[in-house]
């Protein structure tokens, strides 16, 4: 099983790599300028789009992430800026948050999904964002919310593409590792 982490410059990119490695996945951090053909050559089973440097989720192109979303048949998990980019790519909207969230936050799952298998209806997640998805792209399902940020999780209705505003890769997110296990299960298909 091989899942790569695309580095968009987030503080926790390396944590994503580490979580995958700890779950015995073959993984590597690759720059977001890596051409899709190179990822394909490595026969990866899934891809994580990391969070990003401040504010790039709002309007930057995020390297070749568009190409990955366009061409990939394998599952993709977008985190924070990666999630925001995914929303923009599919016609959703990203705006500065009215209440930016940093650190400990309560997450509520509003629609069951295999990505959240084994995760209770309410749990603690950690956040770090100034912007957020304010309009869900069409063709996506809204999966989870917090008190101050509606679109905390979403998934593409046809493709195995997920977006998470919170950070499942950090230690203090209660069920973070479980979410990664679930993503790995999605990639196993």
């Amino acid at each position: 099983m091989k899942i790569y982490v695309v580095d968009n410059g987030g503080q926790w990119t390396h944590r994503e790599w580490r979580t995958l490695r700890d779950l015995e996945i073959e993984t590597k951090i690759v720059p977001n300028t890596t051409p899709f053909t190179e990822l394909k050559k490595d026969h990866i089973d899934g891809l994580v789009l990391s969070g990003g440097a401040p504010r790039i989720g709002l309007d930057s192109p995020l390297g070749n992430c568009a190409e990955y979303l366009e061409k990939a048949a394998f599952p993709i998990l977008g985190i924070c800026a990666g999630h925001q980019f995914m929303a923009r790519f599919y016609g959703g909207e990203v705006k500065p948050s009215i209440v930016p969230e940093f650190g400990k936050t309560d997450l509520t799952i509003i629609k069951e999904d295999r990505l959240f298998a084994g995760v209770p209806h309410q749990s603690i997640v950690w956040e770090s964002h100034n912007d957020e998805v304010t309009r869900l792209p069409s063709g996506f399902t809204h999966l989870a919310e917090s008190e101050t940020c509606k679109i905390q999780a979403m998934r593409h209705q046809q493709k195995p593409f997920y977006g998470l505003q919170f950070h499942p890769e950090v230690e203090h997110t209660e069920y973070g590792e479980q979410i990664f296990r679930n993503f790995i299960a999605v990639c196993q298909k």
Binding site: D7, N8, G9, G10, Q11, W12, T13, H14, R15, R18, R21, D22, E24, N32, G52, A53, P54, F102, G103, K104, W126, E127, S128, V170, E171, H172
Partner: protein
Amino acid sequence: MFNAEKFIETTVADLKKTLQGKTLIAFSGGVDSTVCAALVNKAIGKQLIAIHVDTGYMRKDESAFVVKTMKAMGLNYRFVDASEEYYRALSDVEDPEKKRKIIGEKFIHIFERVAKEEHVTYLVQGTIAPDWIESGGALRDTIKSHHNVGGLPEIMHLTLVEPLRDLYKDEVRKVARILNVPVAERQPFPGPGLAIRIIGAATKERTEIVREACDIVEKEIEAAVEQKLMEMPWQYFAVLIPIKTVGVHGDKRAYGYTIAVRSVQSIDAMTAAYSDIPHEVLDRISRKITNTMGAKVNRIVYDITNKPPGTVEWE
């Protein structure tokens, strides 16, 4: 899961190949640099020279302890007391990033001086993953410049080798336990030391105050852990806030600094939650500090911020 035995084996083999000549290691006495030194020592033995610099911003009796450790490990070592030089350079520097840069540059200059005397080619540092991640780079924003990365002068005449670059602290501790390194369970201590636990100018006078306060916080918390009153924190220390407030000491007006107590739980410092210190322990810390420090400190506060939004250290 991370396999420490395998890591030791491959790293020692790699170091044997890479280090073709005399090698210097920056030895702070913390877990990272001690593990690094043990690995390099395994690889090249006496070709390694460990260097410890007393910046003046070390904790109470720390440099003496570090020298003892280097001796016990059978390392080839050099000890440089540069404290007066550091105090002079930092006496009026307030900006935290500037502090870190100055401290980092001075380290390197000292290392370069020793390297020339000893004809050294390589410099080994115990940089771990969060250090270079937070120091920023092409894509990443600079949260803080870790002295062992961001403080490096552009042109360094030594080849830098960082064997622990991809490891997190909990993994370094696993390696330390297998190598039987005496400092495996020590709490992390930043390279710039107490200089970044003093908000504003890190003068000698303020350093003495925060050094004493840190020592009290450490001892009280360790005693409380021993008595099973609380869990062992990831990191626990004092910060000097250069704000003076009014107090009353024996019917006399006092006007002293503020000390903040900081203690957090974490496994890798990438996120952290403030510790749940029982009130009776906080009370002991507060009384001990104000009673020992006389008129210099007359207010103690407890920091209840997680990371994010805060960081573990204040600067």
